[in-house]
């Protein structure tokens, strides 16, 4: 009697263990499959972009990257103006946003009174989350008219007699264009640069700074000679992360770029970027070659941002390792 009871009990136990085992293995497989799915997602994006852009690449070859043509009627397409606009707007945006972003980070880590640090830091992080379309609509309705009436005529007049620069700031003041798009982008990536730099600055050991103050360094010397060299890789990584954002940014730029497929010598003139071209024209594109050219633009954008973002992640990862040591 007791024997059969024991074996019965044993059976139930083995079965329960088996069930657990099975569930265990299934869960392990499902989670691993999901992790692999993330990899597959990236692979899928690349493959589908290459597949979609194949007709355009076949038609134009590498000339696609350097051609300035963009004519849906004759079906001649080239990416040069869009690539130029993408790189130029992002570059100007970084030029404006990086120093200000570093300044905010220094302010938050070195100067700001302690009770204010958290609220200002939180405010900046929240602003980093505001959707880009908000920046776009603000840029078009508020910023562009203001720039058109004030800063742009002033730049045009101010640089009129200086060679080279007068080409760069040639009129007329359109309001919208490369320059306005760059300013919007710089405001957009400012919170990102500021918050990453602040986090990076915070990794500097306090003893290092105290030692520098101890030998009589001024506050600026501590920032310049101790904090910045210590965090160099992280700062560059943060800036490149922001660059990656700026390169791929769509809505904030589309509103104010002017959508002109031409390389203007003046940065005040209208232009276009890769993402703005796709956003503006994709649904209206008729003809396989037109659509395919737009997808090829997307592929170019993806390759550029992938390189920039990968470099930025490697640099930030290096800083993390250094911190752990």
């Amino acid at each position: 009697m007791s024997q059969s009871h024991a074996s019965l009990f044993g059976d139930a136990r083995t079965q329960a263990l088996k069930r657990f085992n099975l569930g265990d293995r299934a869960f392990h497989l499902i989670t691993k499959g999901s992790a692999l799915a993330v990899l597959a997602l990236l692979g899928g994006v690349i493959i589908s972009l290459i597949h979609g852009s194949a007709p355009a690449i076949g038609e134009f070859g590498f000339g696609f990257l350097t051609s300035q043509a963009w004519n849906p009627v004759t079906e001649k397409f080239g990416a040069a103006p869009a690539i130029y606009g993408t790189l130029l707007t992002s570059f100007i945006a970084l030029l404006i946003a990086a120093p200000i972003g570093f300044g905010i980070a220094v302010f938050l880590t070195e100067i700001c009174p302690y009770p204010l640090r958290r609220p200002i830091g939180i405010a900046i992080e929240l602003l980093a989350g505001i959707p880009s379309i908000i920046y776009g609509i603000w840029g078009m309705f508020i910023l562009a008219p203001v720039l058109q009436a004030t800063l742009q005529p002033w730049l045009i007049a101010g640089f009129a007699d200086i060679p080279i620069l007068n080409e760069l700031f040639a009129g007329p003041p359109y309001g919208i264009g490369i320059f306005t798009a760059s300013i919007i982008l710089s405001i957009m990536i400012l919170p990102l640069i500021a918050s990453i730099s602040r986090d990076v600055f915070a990794t500097v050991p306090t003893v290092l700074k105290e030692a520098a103050f101890g030998v009589g360094c001024t506050r600026w010397e501590v920032v310049r000679r101790i904090v910045m060299p210590f965090t160099g890789a992280g700062l560059v990584g943060g800036v490149m992360l922001a660059l990656g954002r700026a390169l791929g940014e769509t809505m904030a730029v589309t509103f104010v770029i002017g959508n002109a497929h031409k390389i203007h010598p003046s940065i005040l003139g209208p232009g276009t970027t890769i993402s703005a071209t796709i956003a503006n024209e994709f649904t209206e594109a008729d003809g396989a070659l037109y659509t395919s050219s737009l997808i090829a633009l997307g592929l170019v954008l993806f390759v550029i941002t992938f390189i920039v973002l990968a470099a930025s992640r490697l640099m930030l990862a290096r800083l993390k390792r250094q911190e752990g040591r």
Binding site: G23, F27, H28, I134, G136, P191, L241, L309, R313
Partner: protein, 279 residues
């Protein structure tokens, strides 16, 4: 002038520049929010929530766009969040020190900041082109793909914070691994996981670019997931770019709604995240 004076002056100037840049940054962002509140509130009315998007030149509301945004966001999160949760679980629990995790983390970080318009192109290729028409499904899928990296990231981070002692105690009691993860680790990291979910919702609710050529737009109310569907961001884009005053003011109202939603979600996530301390 002595060297000390010069150095002090230089430091004072540099610190002044830092303060100035903080003022510039905060002022710029305050101006944007101010303009948004001013224009948004002056365009906001009950009609915005009760009427459909109007034809050019007429007055109306944003009801179909609001509903469309809600439907696609919910659907996108419902598809993307479980996938992200499971992938993050693998990275933190099963393969914490494996090569695969390192690679997935790297790729995921890149997907996190990859241009959303490229994701839109991808979804266009695999759904719209295959089905032959734009649909809310495609829009939701595009949003789902944007949700995944956010959730993967927060899930991994949060599960890594769960103390190993908790797991070891459960192992000592003979619990199988999967039950430990689901009943101990998830529970301990719950606040953090919900934070990640809220952040993901905040991220996608303002997304415009990937919806432009997946869900397209729809001037009328539609709950058919297999047809084009309006969404707030796309409607804002279309209306703001138009020359009609009524449309433009509706765009401002929509912009205010989206920003309010996104900020509420981020603040909610932050409050939850602040409680996630493990002892």
């Amino acid at each position: 002038m002595s060297l000390a004076t010069v150095r002090k002056a230089r430091s004072a100037i540099a610190m002044g520049a830092c303060i100035a840049s903080a003022v510039i940054g905060i002022a710029a962002l305050a101006i944007i929010l101010g303009a948004l509140l001013w224009n948004g509130f002056s365009s906001l009315s009950l009609d915005v929530f009760t009427k459909m998007t109007p034809p050019p030149g007429a007055s109306g509301g944003l009801l179909n766009a609001i509903v469309g945004s809600l439907i696609m966001t919910v659907l996108g999160v419902a598809i993307g969040a479980p996938l992200g949760l499971l992938a993050g679980t693998y990275m933190a629990e099963y393969g914490r020190y494996s090569k695969l995790t390192t690679v997935v983390r790297f790729i995921n970080d890149i997907l996190l900041s990859a241009p959303s318009i490229v994701i839109g192109l991808f979804v266009y290729e695999i759904t719209v082109l295959q089905m032959g028409h734009f649909s809310a499904y495609a829009g939701a899928l595009a949003l789902a793909l944007l949700v995944v990296p956010v959730v993967v990231r927060t899930t991994e981070d949060m599960l890594n914070l769960v103390p190993g002692g908790l797991r070891e105690a459960a192992i000592a009691m003979g619990l199988p691994r999967s039950l430990i993860i689901r009943h101990i680790a998830y529970k301990a990291a719950r606040a953090g996981l919900i934070t990640g979910l809220l952040l993901a919702v905040a991220r996608v609710s303002g997304e415009t670019a990937p919806l432009l050529f997946t869900a397209l737009n729809n001037q009328f109310f539609s709950s058919n997931l297999n047809a084009p569907m309006a969404s707030l961001p796309v409607v804002i884009f279309q209306f703001a770019m138009s020359p009609y005053k009524d449309w433009q003011s509706l765009a401002w109202a929509g912009a205010l709604l989206i920003t309010a939603a996104v900020l509420t979600l981020s603040i909610g996530a932050r409050i939850l995240g602040a409680q996630k301390t493990f002892k």
